[in-house]
Symmetry: C2
Subunit: 542 residues, 2 copies
Amino acid sequence: MEENKEQSKSALKKAEKAAQMAAKKAEKAAKQATLPVVGGKKADDIIGITVKKNENFSQWYQEVVLKAELIEYYTEISGFFIMRPATMYIWNVIRKWFQEHIDELGVEETNFPMFLSQKSLEKEKEHVEGFAPELAWVTKAGDKDLEVPVAVRPTSEAVMYPYYAKWIRSHRDLPFRLNQWNSVVRWEAKQTTPFLRAREFMWQEGHTAHLTEQAAGEEQLLAVPVVRGRKTEAEKFAGGYYTTTVEGYIPSNGRGIQGATSHCLGQNFSKMFDITVEDPAEKGKHIHVWQNSWGLSTRVIGVMVMIHGDDKGLVLPPRIAKIQSILIPVGLTAKMSAEEKDAHMKKVDELLATLKKAGVRTDVDTREGYTPAWKFNDWELKGVPLRIEFGPKDAAKDVISYARRDTGEKGTIPIAELTTKVPELLETIQQDMYNKAEASFREHRLKIEKWEDVVPALDAKNVVLIPHCLVPDCEDKIKELTTGRSDEAAEGPESQKAPSMGMKSLCIPFEQPKGLVKGETKCLNPECSRLAEQWCMFGRSY
Amino acid sequence: MEENKEQSKSALKKAEKAAQMAAKKAEKAAKQATLPVVGGKKADDIIGITVKKNENFSQWYQEVVLKAELIEYYTEISGFFIMRPATMYIWNVIRKWFQEHIDELGVEETNFPMFLSQKSLEKEKEHVEGFAPELAWVTKAGDKDLEVPVAVRPTSEAVMYPYYAKWIRSHRDLPFRLNQWNSVVRWEAKQTTPFLRAREFMWQEGHTAHLTEQAAGEEQLLAVPVVRGRKTEAEKFAGGYYTTTVEGYIPSNGRGIQGATSHCLGQNFSKMFDITVEDPAEKGKHIHVWQNSWGLSTRVIGVMVMIHGDDKGLVLPPRIAKIQSILIPVGLTAKMSAEEKDAHMKKVDELLATLKKAGVRTDVDTREGYTPAWKFNDWELKGVPLRIEFGPKDAAKDVISYARRDTGEKGTIPIAELTTKVPELLETIQQDMYNKAEASFREHRLKIEKWEDVVPALDAKNVVLIPHCLVPDCEDKIKELTTGRSDEAAEGPESQKAPSMGMKSLCIPFEQPKGLVKGETKCLNPECSRLAEQWCMFGRSY
């Protein structure tokens, strides 16, 4: 354990050092801004992120999603958020990528109504009990009471499956695979957080009998590393058979976070909704189909923000960035003639055209009245992966100067090589971001074999892998035992709110560590007398 | 008028003749089906459309949308419909086409919550009065009453504009253009009809200050002809300034139908929600922005079905058809050896590959246990534009045989020319379908200058262009005067329900006919003493 604490401390030190270097660079950049703008916006005028990610993670996150214009709070009704164009761009990239995958699998698109009736809901008792406290009920239309209130879908099993029973007539209709993109409503009583927990969120929901693929895999696109595994009985989907999941990790607070999930519903729902086909092996005998459902929501955007963002704001992986590189003219001093400036700006236009032609999503910032340094900060806040500066000095050398958003690293690229080097650099940034997050997750996923090491590991921002009996009651006990036992001081308002949140199971990883001897290794919970079944990943979690 | 009645009768005769010919062809095709299928499905087994389009239009429509698997009735809650994959494919083609157009205009995508608060709603009195009777109110979450009930959006002006007031800070932020794809809820008391009038429907809603383009133009894609114009005061958008519209026409019952609309909101909403910018011409003075909103909904799919469908079912324009041509192996008799059959099916596979490679969306029907004739009928019901048959006789001549869905016309194409001729033929079908519908609309849009000619014109399934004063009260009077005055016998259950629906204004066409002398020509309403302002298009309508 000590080793891991050290690792964590060393990571913190590195982050601090990186932040200091970044601050120095920003200062230097500000000084380099040579354009004397009368009455213009200087770097200091920007209202950037006011807190450090490591000091107050919760406030940092709220500022980033708001100031990078990903979301707006919907103040009319609490718990709802407006998805702004920067978010919709990312969501559409994910959607397109996902759609192509499911198209290949032959999944067809559908659109079911947003309301469900009490009657359908009641068909699956476990399922309705899971969602009942969060259902939004429409009871009136105009000024008239509805005879039978209807609920806004929290998910569409109960909306869709009566029709699966109607449409699936023969085993030749299987596999039967439908997907829909929509938004669902879960009227959360808990505090909401943009992307992670909202009363309405966008997602896709796929519902099938035979699809066995894991609906995972978004990690490469968002540069978010995950652990794939199966949810425990206590954490599975209400009414389901078992749930597979991809679990992410937020280094700043050491919490686990669920990405996409795929639920094997078994025959639970097909029995309730009577979805049967004739047994191909035995004429006249009807069998209930096996069903899966899987969902990927805008929550993954929140995870991406949390993992990659820094003290200057959002950091976007190039593959999902609407603007991959921002071109900023610099060094246009008051001494230059209008002709000289025009000639330089013409070159800027050529660079823009060259980059666009090379398939790099590029924009140019020619806003008047703002210093280059102000612009640098503004685009850093918004997370643009690559800044390209071009001044008379660059022009003289036939190069552009660049700065990477993720590392702050600077360099130059000959203009003649732009069309190959810039795409390469963007791909390098994408890989580096993934690798860095992956290493961090790996370092903070600790195999624990002594109970007394658990809470210190959590406090050092780790998730833990422990031998576990997989019994739901034991999980409850573990949560209780790890609640309120923080060994370290609180570190910011978020921790003050929940100074020592108990841990819950995240998943039973498909890739099991070694060292668990069946019939011998005990469940790590000191109050549990059962033997361990598998290594289970636990953590504080969203 | 008589001339037009004649036209209408002649059109009907033509349609009857076409139907007879189609029936004969189907019969012939059924006889040609040579595969002796033991216990298989024969042509007669298909449960096709049971009524003729001209005899009972309303039932015909309901059967087509259901049996061609475009929709399913959501029996759990009345007035809602399930959009099946065949519909979603069409909607996605429209969406993609529309998105490309608005991308070019620089419109950005957004996603606002589906609920709106009473407070926002009340800001625009006229607007809220227009929608109040149809609002679905959420009053409970779980088992708790909400402190303040929230309504599901019927449209998003009141949801979005408070944020426009916040985000639009300077005239440099204009034009400000956002669009969202979502579904809205209007709890209609009137009878619902798939696509045309549903309690929830999918659409896009664009909201902008400066966009002056007409959000029209879907006609070419769906082969649906329209008249562009402006809505009268009585028919404009609740709370708007004026509304432009594209109006379609359903030949089968002579009714007008609204396609897309674009509302100029003027400054009405910006004054209510206080959306201002500083006047660029006068420092310190604030002006309210001018706004537009525009919407295109799945309703256009219903219009397309009504216009092009026939007694055999759906007829899809090739551009929006998921399957543009269906390849059906024929003539595989019992006398043929297994080797001969295999060799033939190998050629079928080659044809499929060739067509796909040429960019034709093609599928092959190799279902066992069904006669070719049964398959012909099944694909006709589903509206596939082109049927391609391939039997040993075709193979011997190195051709394929085809049948057009729109006209029933048959022919052959040399296999060597498939990759050019099939795409050409599909484009011809698209154009012919548009031209036919356009001619029908043109023939049934009558310029009427005597009041006594109005009702007979409506009864002969026309819409009428009349000189009109454009005063709302006069419109109400016209509706009253034309209600219950049908001069002809009812023609089917639909007419029995509404034997002589009054006419309402559809639009004031941008392209005005000649013959109206300002200050001289009188409003056609015999009980109106005002002068006519413009030619206005009236009709029975959806």
